[in-house]
Each structure stands twice: as C-alpha cells, then as structure tokens.
C-alpha cells in the first residue's frame, strides 16, 4: 500500500488521503470539515466502518470534508483504497 488520494474540495465532496502505517499502528482518522461539530462523529463512523469492511487495519486517513453525504464518503474512501493498493 502506498499513499493515495481521491475526491475534491468542491461542495458536497470530500478529499481523502490515505497513508500506510506500520503494522500494529492501527487506524488513525483526522477530519477537517465545515460541519465538524454536527457531523464529525458520523463522518468518522462511516470511514471506520468502511475500512473495517475492507479489512484495512493500519492506515492514516486524512479527510477534508465539504459536506459530503455518507455514500460519497464511502465512494471516495474506496477509490483511495483502490489507488493505494494499485500503487503498491
């Protein structure tokens, strides 16, 4: 797995950057969002569950959110994962 990115900074989108971590480091999620107070936890939960479903254990996720819906977050995260794996 290599560092990879998906999504944009346009309204309703989210830009996700994945960086590999050492085995055992676990999942680290940093979120920057203009709706962090209302939706920060929800965004975190979508990212965490999508990673768990994909079987990813050690990764640093940086997400810059512009009001993305859950399915958009999931689509962008899965694209970033595809790209990280393809680059590896």
């Amino acid at each position: 797995m290599k560092t990879a990115q998906a999504g944009t900074l346009e309204s309703s989108d989210i830009m996700i950057t994945l960086s590999p971590q050492e085995p055992g480091d676990g999942v680290k999620i940093d979120i920057d969002s203009n709706v962090l107070h209302q939706y920060g936890e929800a965004i975190q939960a979508v990212i965490a569950s999508t990673l768990a479903e994909a079987g990813v254990k050690d990764v640093w996720v940086k997400a810059v959110d512009r009001g993305a819906l859950d399915y958009t977050i999931k689509a962008r995260l899965l694209t970033a994962l595809d790209r990280a794996r393809r680059a590896a």
Partner: protein, 292 residues
C-alpha cells in the same frame, strides 16, 4: 406501459453535488455519465461514485441510465461495476455495429445479479458507420429500447460543419428515426448544445418531435422544461386523438373498420398514434381519466 423519454438529462458522473440533486429537475431520464464528463484519470472514482449514487440517491420517477465508456475503453469494467447497482438502462456510446451491441448485452447479462430487473440498453449512434448500421443495431438484442443520436461526433466524422439550424444532420436524423421505427423502439434526439438559448432549443426540439423523435438528450437541467413543452401532446392533438379513438370504437361496434375524422380517412397506424397520444396524455396528467 409505454416508457416516456421526452427528456434525458446528463449528470456528470464524478460530481457528488450534481449526482445527489439529479432527481429534482423532473427529467424523464437521468443519465449518470462516466464517459465524456469524466477526466481519464478520474474514471475509477466516477465508477465508484455512480454505483453508490444508484443505490442511495433519490431520482424520483426518473429512469436511471448510466452512460458507460466504449467497450474498447474500459466499458466492460464499467458494466461489471454498474450493472449490479441496478440502473434501469445502460447508454452505450459510439455503437458501430450489431456485434458490439451483442457483446455489451452479453456482458450485462453476466453482470446481473439474481432477481434483478433486466437492464435495458440505449444505443448512442454517433458515427457514420453506426448510422449506416442503425437498424441491425436496433434489432441486435431485445434489451435495446431506444436509439439516441449524437450529432457532434457524427458531424465530425462526416467532416460537416455544425450549425444551429442543423441542415447538415437532417438526413442522419431521418435515417435514425426510420431505423428505430422499423425496429419498434424510440428515437432520441441529439442535445442542443447552447444551454443559454431557450428559443433555439424550443425550435430544435419542436422540429425533432415533428419528424418523429420521442425525446431529446439534455446537457443542462434548465433545458428539461423547454424540451417537455415541445414533446407534450398539445390540447388540440389530445382532442383529435379522442375523436379518432371514439370514432373507431363506434365504427367497430357497427362492424366497420373504416372511418373518417375531420374529412380524412383514418386507418390502423393513425389509430395507433391517437392511442399513443392519449396514453401519453394520461400518464403525464394532461387528460382527464374519463376522456371526452
């Protein structure tokens, strides 16, 4: 029930904001676009996003269509990813012949999951060869429900100069309409590319309808209402259709199949057109249920 495709609105496939709002414009069909609207480096992202949008976004009563990439440019990857997400139809670009259409149909069949409603195909005819083979394409597989015309690529293929009046595409339009009619499917017209010219669009859509198209591609949400206005049956047409159907029913009750309405003889194709007009008016709420 007949499908109504007066307007088919393109929505860029890698644009979350537009994808989530695609249902609010009242288009008869939305076309989530993986082809021209998506940069080559973002095809993977659009494929994921459109798949998710199909499963999660609310497109209301709009038919959900996905324009995939041509089969020689990852179209097969698009089909494998998109078909299980249950679109109503796939818009297949740059179809050149029946073999390509059948190849796509086979890929779609193998991508469908158990219990899924069969995915239809709309063939986009946008090359001189595709137009020359339009009838065989229309009849290549029972999934094909419409031929759509893409005039920009087509005229580039001819070396013709595109104009607002469209004299250079009149023959192509007529050939495409004829092929679709011969196969018993719909013909959908090329988009009007100047999104700021409502009068020009109204004129172009009016012409399209008069020569036999059943609907028109749209590249901007603001075109939807103008296109609907052009393709809706008028009050006069509904009134005529009601009189035709009433007259034929009376004639049949009296054991005769030949009638005249407004001094003109009416035969089976005219009756069929009248019935289609009435059904369309009823589905669009333009006519009272009890007629007359």
């Amino acid at each position: 029930m007949m499908a109504i495709r007066r307007s088919m609105l393109f929505i860029p496939g890698n644009h979350p904001g537009m994808l989530q709002n695609g249902g609010v414009f009242g288009a008869d069909s939305v076309i989530l676009d993986l082809e021209d609207a998506v940069a080559p480096t973002e095809k993977d992202a659009a494929r994921r996003l459109v798949g998710m949008a199909l499963k999660n976004a609310d497109y209301g009563d709009s038919e959900k269509v996905v324009r995939i990439n041509p089969l020689d440019c990852d179209g097969a990857v698009d089909i494998a990813a998109i078909v299980p997400c249950a679109p109503d139809a796939i818009l297949l670009p740059k179809v050149q012949n029946a073999a390509e259409l059948r190849e796509a149909a086979a890929l779609i069949a193998s991508a469908e999951v158990a219990g899924q409603k069969p995915v239809k195909i709309i063939a986009l005819i946008e090359t001189p060869r595709g137009l020359a083979n339009a009838l065989e394409i229309a009849e290549a597989d029972p999934r094909v429900v419409a031929l759509a015309f893409g005039a920009e690529d087509y005229t580039a293929g001819l070396g013709a100069v595109r104009s607002k009046e469209g004299g250079e595409i009149l023959t192509a339009r007529a050939l495409l309409i004829n092929a679709a009619a011969a196969a018993g499917i719909d013909a959908i017209d090329t988009p009007f590319t100047d999104a700021n010219d409502d009068a020009g669009l109204a004129e172009d859509a009016g012409l399209a309808r008069r020569i036999g198209f059943k609907g028109k591609l749209a590249i901007n949400p603001r075109q939807v209402d103008v296109i609907h206005e052009a393709f809706n049956p008028s009050e006069k047409e509904i009134d005529w259709a009601e009189r035709v159907v009433f007259a034929i029913e009376q004639a049949q009750a009296q054991g005769s199949g030949v009638i005249a309405v407004d001094g003109k003889m009416v035969d089976a194709p005219i009756v069929n057109r009248a019935k289609r007009t009435l059904e369309m008016a009823r589905m669009l709420g333009l006519k009272k249920e009890d007629g007359q």
